[in-house]
Amino acid sequence: MIANLRPAIVSMVLFTALLGLAYPLGVTGLAQLLFPAQAGGSLIRNAAGGIVGSRWIGQSFRDEGYLRPRPSAAGEDGYDASNSSGSNLGPLNQDLAARVKADAAALRGESDAPIPVDAVTTSGSGLDPHVSPANAERQVLRIAAARKAPAAEVQALIAANTEGSTFGLFGEPRVNVLAVNLALDARWPRAQR
């Protein structure tokens, strides 16, 4: 055991220097050099240079004129990007049933179209940046009415921000909520709030 003392301690010190500092810092340097936008969090800035959000991090949108995201369990009010969380409610949990019921009732007030399942479920992270194409489609009339815009144009704008499965095989079709809302504001500018 004593003979192992030196290699045990020395190796932990060396590994900590190599793997705990050199490796992450080296990768950070290379990443910032080669892919600065991605390495910095794929942040989106407005014309004035202010950070509006990240391409990958979902945000809360309540206004009728915006595409609304999925419900979120991150933080107290949802979409807390420093406190990611799913609901972790099991399939028989009464809180889940009550939440889905209330959300579905509110959504039925907006449209008669069938409710897509992602519109009444929280994501694993609570920060899902996407909604399903069906969920976005269901919101077209509301957005168009709020912005006094033709529904077909809103629809086209959503389609332009829809991605299919990667290589036709991996993942599901999806609509990036923040990208759509930025495009909506660019196409139909709204009064400064």
Binding site: G20, L21, A31, F61, G90, T121, D128, L182
Partner: protein
């Protein structure tokens, strides 16, 4: 479910094996000390390590010497990580300004990473500083995986030996596996992940002003570098609370593919390397086939459960044609990529998740739990999956030997009482730790306060937690609030048992195997490379796992499944 989902599952598993195969051929060179393309860069570093450690690289160790070195190294790692976490508040690289971690959480987290479990009692972005993440967790991600690979290399040499005593040198194996295998793979993967959208930043975070005028604080980290080794090393402990479901850890289906392949490829590669070093390539292929069959069946079962079981909450709200259970799942992954990840992470002792298992339908979550309980051998953790599978193969030939009444052999070595005793010792650790601690927790009011869900789902939360800990998996039914003294301590003990009370008997088996003469196969030898043997092995794995855990599973996921069917009617 749809054809695309099935195609994604089949193609991803095939791709993982296809990536693992050449890796295994490369690892053979690393284990045997032959030349590799990376020698010009790494040879001097390796020599420097040997000199600083003061070891003679040509001096082999007996199984006991090897085991003691493994334990000494893990103990040193534990002490350092524990100190780092406790003193976090006083140390630099803490832009978030977090204080020290509580004693029981530091114990749990240190054990968790030293044992390659990476159970997350901590909430990454709310508890741990950048220094703790990098110098603490990332280091253990590498070296705990390197230690697992070292034990696998020792096991391979035991079967190659003819009346030998040495299993190799732990320090040499550890250093080579970290430097030549884990580090280059991680650097390449980290950069690929950044290119595909994963952040790598030393900032604590940024504040965004949303279009609706609200402030959103976005936590940032050096994510990609830890994500890469977390997957390759079958560690699984995430930077963020929700692990690879977090869009910064896993923003696109492409990053998901990279991560899920790197989750299992090295464990498959270990089997290939084992076969080459032990001189048993065809037999290693049989082990690989058993792994692929079982993890494939697991993925199919979870995908079916998540898409076919009616969800009572949806039915009650009048949403009748829901194509899948999306609670706790990300839109970009959907049911197929989530179910596949769930099977691969629980079969592999990785424990990272890209969806929340706690919100799975009962059978989906139950299958994930069952894959852990089968012993983390499908394909298991890097190194640990291989040696666990060899233990199962020894039991399989032993059972077959009992049936025909002759002394069993495996890979040219007689399997006798000593090996089987140690094998039984190893496989009994899982039920002892899982069922023992679950039984106590289910009766302890202080433990039950941590449950989010009640009834059978609550029991599943308990069972899953101890399965995950003892199996060194690390995934969770995250409804359980495990950051309490009781859970942190008992889960920590379960992790220690699952790692070291397993690895030490395995090394004892390797020592006994190495000392035996290498026999040529005779007409009476059960061929261990045939489909018959694969079937026997699969049967042994299922019966051992099923018999031990079925009663507990019947009270948890299985009864809950029938409750769900009744509630959804």
């Amino acid at each position: 479910m749809d054809w695309r989902g099935w195609a994604e599952i089949v193609f991803t598993i095939a791709l993982t094996v296809a990536v693992g195969w050449p890796l295994g051929i490369y690892m053979t060179r690393v284990w045997t000390g032959e030349r590799t393309p990376l020698d010009p860069v790494l040879k001097p570093v390796e020599a420097g390590f040997h000199a600083a450690l003061g070891i003679d690289r040509n001096k082999g160790q007996s199984w006991l010497g090897y085991a003691v070195a493994l334990l000494a190294f893990s103990a040193a790692g534990f002490v350092l990580l524990y100190a780092l976490l406790r003193l976090q508040g006083l140390l630099p690289l803490n832009p978030q300004g977090f204080g020290g971690v509580s004693p029981h959480l530091a114990f749990n987290t240190a054990v968790s990473f030293v044992t390659n479990t990476n159970w997350q009692s901590y909430g990454g972005e709310t508890t741990l500083s950048s220094l703790s993440q990098m110098a603490g967790l990332t280091v253990q991600n590498f070296v705990s995986a390197g230690a697992g690979l070292a034990v696998a290399a020792a096991m391979a040499r035991a079967f190659a030996a003819d009346r030998g005593e040495s299993l190799g040198n732990f320090w040499v194996d550890l250093t080579r596996n970290v430097l030549y295998v884990l580090l280059p793979l991680s650097i390449a993967t980290a950069l690929a992940l950044v290119a595909a959208g994963v952040p790598q930043s030393l900032l604590a975070g940024v504040t965004a002003r949303t279009l609706e005028g609200a402030d959103q604080v976005i936590a940032l980290f050096p994510v990609a570098s830890q994500e890469a080794i977390k997957q390759w090393g079958t560690n699984g402990g995430g930077l963020f609370n929700v692990n690879s479901a977090h869009p910064f850890e896993n923003p696109t289906p492409l990053t998901n593919l990279i991560e899920v392949v790197s989750l299992n490829a090295l464990a498959f590669g270990t089997v290939v390397a084992f076969g080459r070093v032990a001189g048993a390539r065809r037999e290693a292929r049989a082990l690989l086939a058993a792994m692929v069959i079982l993890v494939g069946l697991g993925a199919a079962a979870i995908y079916s459960s998540e898409t076919l079981t009616p969800q009572p909450a949806m039915v009650a709200a009048g949403i009748i044609d829901a194509p899948a259970n999306m609670e706790g799942k990300e839109v970009r992954f959907g049911a197929a990529a989530s179910a596949l990840w769930a099977a691969m992470t629980t079969g592999a002792s990785n424990g990272s998740v890209n969806s929340m298992h706690a919100s799975y339908m009962p059978l989906g979550g139950g299958v994930a739990m069952f894959l852990i309980q089968l012993g983390e051998i499908l394909p298991g953790g890097v190194g640990s999956g291989l040696y666990g599978m060899v233990v199962m193969a020894l039991l399989a030939v032993f059972v077959a030997g009992l049936m025909v009444g002759r002394t069993p052999e495996y890979l040219g070595k007689k399997v006798e009482a000593r090996e089987i005793k140690f094998a039984m010792l190893a496989v009994l650790i899982l039920p002892l730790a899982i069922l023992g601690f679950s039984a106590v927790s289910a009766a302890l009011p202080a433990a039950l306060e941590s449950l989010l869900n009640t009834g059978p789902h609550g029991l599943s939360e308990i069972l899953y937690a101890y399965s995950s800990a003892a199996g060194n998996n690390g995934s969770a039914f995250a409804g359980l609030s495990a950051n309490t003294p009781w859970w942190n301590t008992t889960l920590g003990i379960a992790m220690l048992l699952g790692r070291f009370a397993y690895a030490v008997p395995v090394l004892a088996i390797a020592g006994a195997i190495a000392a035996k003469p290498k026999l040529a196969p005779t007409a009476g030898t059960l061929p261990s490379d045939s489909p018959l043997f694969v079937g026997l092995l699969v049967g042994i794995i299922l019966i051992l796992g099923g018999l031990q855990f079925f009663p507990a599973l019947a009270l948890g996921p299985i009864v809950e499944h029938f409750q769900v069917l009744a509630a959804a009617r």
